[in-house]
Symmetry: C3
Subunit: 349 residues, 3 copies
Amino acid sequence: MLLPQTHNHAQPNFLNTADLKQEEISALIDLALDIKQGKVKKSLAGKTLATLFFNPSVRTRVSFATAMFKLGGQAIEISSNNVWSFEYQDDVVMDGSTIEHVKEVAPVLSRYCDGLAIRCSELVTKSAQSASSGSWEESKQDIVLNSFAKYATVPVINMESNVYHPCQGLGDALTMKEHFGETRGKKYVHTWAYHPKALPMATTNSQMLAACDLGMDVVIAHPQGWELDPEILAVAQKRAIQSGGSFAISNDQDEAIEGADIVCAKSWGALPYYGNWEAEKEARSNLQHWIVNEEKMARTRDGKFMHCLPVRRNVEVTQGVLDSTSSIVIDEAENRMWAQMALLATLLA
Amino acid sequence: MLLPQTHNHAQPNFLNTADLKQEEISALIDLALDIKQGKVKKSLAGKTLATLFFNPSVRTRVSFATAMFKLGGQAIEISSNNVWSFEYQDDVVMDGSTIEHVKEVAPVLSRYCDGLAIRCSELVTKSAQSASSGSWEESKQDIVLNSFAKYATVPVINMESNVYHPCQGLGDALTMKEHFGETRGKKYVHTWAYHPKALPMATTNSQMLAACDLGMDVVIAHPQGWELDPEILAVAQKRAIQSGGSFAISNDQDEAIEGADIVCAKSWGALPYYGNWEAEKEARSNLQHWIVNEEKMARTRDGKFMHCLPVRRNVEVTQGVLDSTSSIVIDEAENRMWAQMALLATLLA
Amino acid sequence: MLLPQTHNHAQPNFLNTADLKQEEISALIDLALDIKQGKVKKSLAGKTLATLFFNPSVRTRVSFATAMFKLGGQAIEISSNNVWSFEYQDDVVMDGSTIEHVKEVAPVLSRYCDGLAIRCSELVTKSAQSASSGSWEESKQDIVLNSFAKYATVPVINMESNVYHPCQGLGDALTMKEHFGETRGKKYVHTWAYHPKALPMATTNSQMLAACDLGMDVVIAHPQGWELDPEILAVAQKRAIQSGGSFAISNDQDEAIEGADIVCAKSWGALPYYGNWEAEKEARSNLQHWIVNEEKMARTRDGKFMHCLPVRRNVEVTQGVLDSTSSIVIDEAENRMWAQMALLATLLA
């Protein structure tokens, strides 16, 4: 069902929702709803998924492990302390610190397992530093993820790369479809939030795309200087229009939130400072008012609050909002599992 | 079957055997015996247990993994290197080192898994230091375990906290029931043992309670200064009497062991020195004669030797005793698995 | 089917292929071929294998996990960060850094699991240093592996010790049997390769034995000073003759490779420098021409290239060879899984 990606082999992957047709995404969400409601039983009996974590994870790890197990399969975790220091460059004389090339490890794992899932966000890992110089243009190439996708002979799933976190996007889409039924005409506000650390923008990119694919009226709110990648914005806008929605950007959080049906908060590091995080931190220091609180939620149209978690209470959002009935963050986290079950059942069947 | 604990939600937990009625404990032991003898097949097909290890473990980890697997389910391990630095305090502005609040992580894991099992002994972990100042009064609150129990929406199992190790207690009860059939009238001696390190007293508290609930004639032997927590002693004594047994404390190991049917050895750190372990070590240095050896076992009534393991050979007990037929430490360790199968089958069914 | 090893208990182990009769090895290979071709379904439903990794691993870990899962069982990993510091010496007063004796941990794990698999290569681990002084004579005793085999009460599998890596040998034998059908009369060249680090010789010992047991014409090529252990060479030669093959040693890589059907490359540290690796490194520094390249492969009889992986591209072998159709390293890695399935189905049934 998922179409082959633009790689020199035939198997389908799940690297980024924007690689999929919107009807493919809808089909995945409908399948996830059916699985969650127990309407369909899909089986991956005897199938295994190798989950490679270059970065630690709780939510993604447990939700993939349970997703595979509920389908009759098994996730086999390879975490950073197991992961060798892999080589990704061509034509290298490997007499240094990297001890195995992705050209070997990807096909070998493909012989053992029915799928590979990769988490590699270079901003937060060291294991993969060798793969990137640290500039955004470099990071944007997602060398680790795309190298595995290139050399694997089984489907590859992106569990969060430098640029995208499509499983989060799929889970959020499921959550909003489940909550609203019809998502067209609903106002979705994705707002930057203050955070003590500079975080990757992969999750924001995928959450934004999910809302666009649902044909919602999407508003991205962030301080000046925290603009997202223009290429990714262009794709998001295009898909929003195609889906019958709209797309806008605002630098005024209060104004943006006005009349929102969904307020989704996420922090990310400013691109102009990419790799120069001390300077970014200083620029960020006077933005602590970018927090979602009860006053701001009062401006919404009985809006719901979403966040990918983990969340810093009373920093990104007040506990008053998190502990209120308007927060659906726990449902949102649960739906990661159901969305991934639909994805795995489709991709590994 | 297990009754709800005193928490603001309905699901039953297994935090401490003293929270259970004695008939509930008997029912668990009888079920464990039936499962071990293959008389009953319980099924947890498709169910998962998240096992959170803030401290490393071999025995507990493998016995829970096999227990779940033998029942058709799966244990999903989250070990300290995966565990985020969680926040347990209310009303905190989370701009420091803790990156996720138990108010989020406990309900989220409850959506993925059918039960949560927690090992957090602050005396031996750093991951959870933030949860306690290090005083016994603080540690006794078992903030990590009780926070998960409070915010989880599925059963929570104590895999060893600061205060109790009820799965060890249950396994020991199964071992003694299996060995003696009728445990009333049998003399159970729980003796402190010398050890190069100050150890938690959680295991001793639960082993002592297990013997009391079996109506045995319980004697606790330890040097002066190594008294157990008075509140816990009071509960143990009460339950011993209720069960038709007796309860006594001795500072003379030889005398205590006289005529024993069971000699169970365990070391623990002295409460008066809690948090001040250098001083405790010095006070402990002249207590190396608190070792169970062949001479002392000769004073028993063909008594059996028990220990929770891991054990320091020729420090806590001589190899002569461990390698003799009077040692039942391997059966005791095996019974952890069968007891936990009964517990899981009851709690997660 | 596998016969009991020379231990004081009855269960069969898989510590080294040379402990097996050659018909036992043939039977394992035939079973592996049948399982791979789906001709036979063996079941280990409900059975568990404890896999203890004193050294990190990707290939071995994933191939054992999938092997157990495909057979209906489960592998339970205990990696170095979980593994306690175990004691292996007798009659020790355990008041130091080791906290549990193999005399307890091996029988306890035997009660929980249906088999134990051990990886412990002291050259690359610290966890097990206490088990050896670091001399080859010491290391050759494989104290960790043999202690587990001695005290376990279930089958023990060697996942790579100081001396042997028999699962690699079995996988290689399967690969060559699959490729050639009849292996007698085929020339097998096992050549030392340059590597920036001194590596263990366990894999070479087992790969060499595999070719000998297949009755191939075996040539071992290495620089002077890199001689293998004479006792192990004697066993290999004996088994080669018994199987209708031949056995020779050469210090000239080009000459050795002449007319080869298989060229298998592997690096190892020189025995004369064992434990004195700085000196070994210096002696190795002028051996960088010991690399398998296209010119050398051109001397073969349409020979195939094998390597256990991980491989250093353009150091041990050129990428030209690895990326050519003469390389069968990925098939070789895959066959680890099928060979281990045959082994597990036989040993744990």
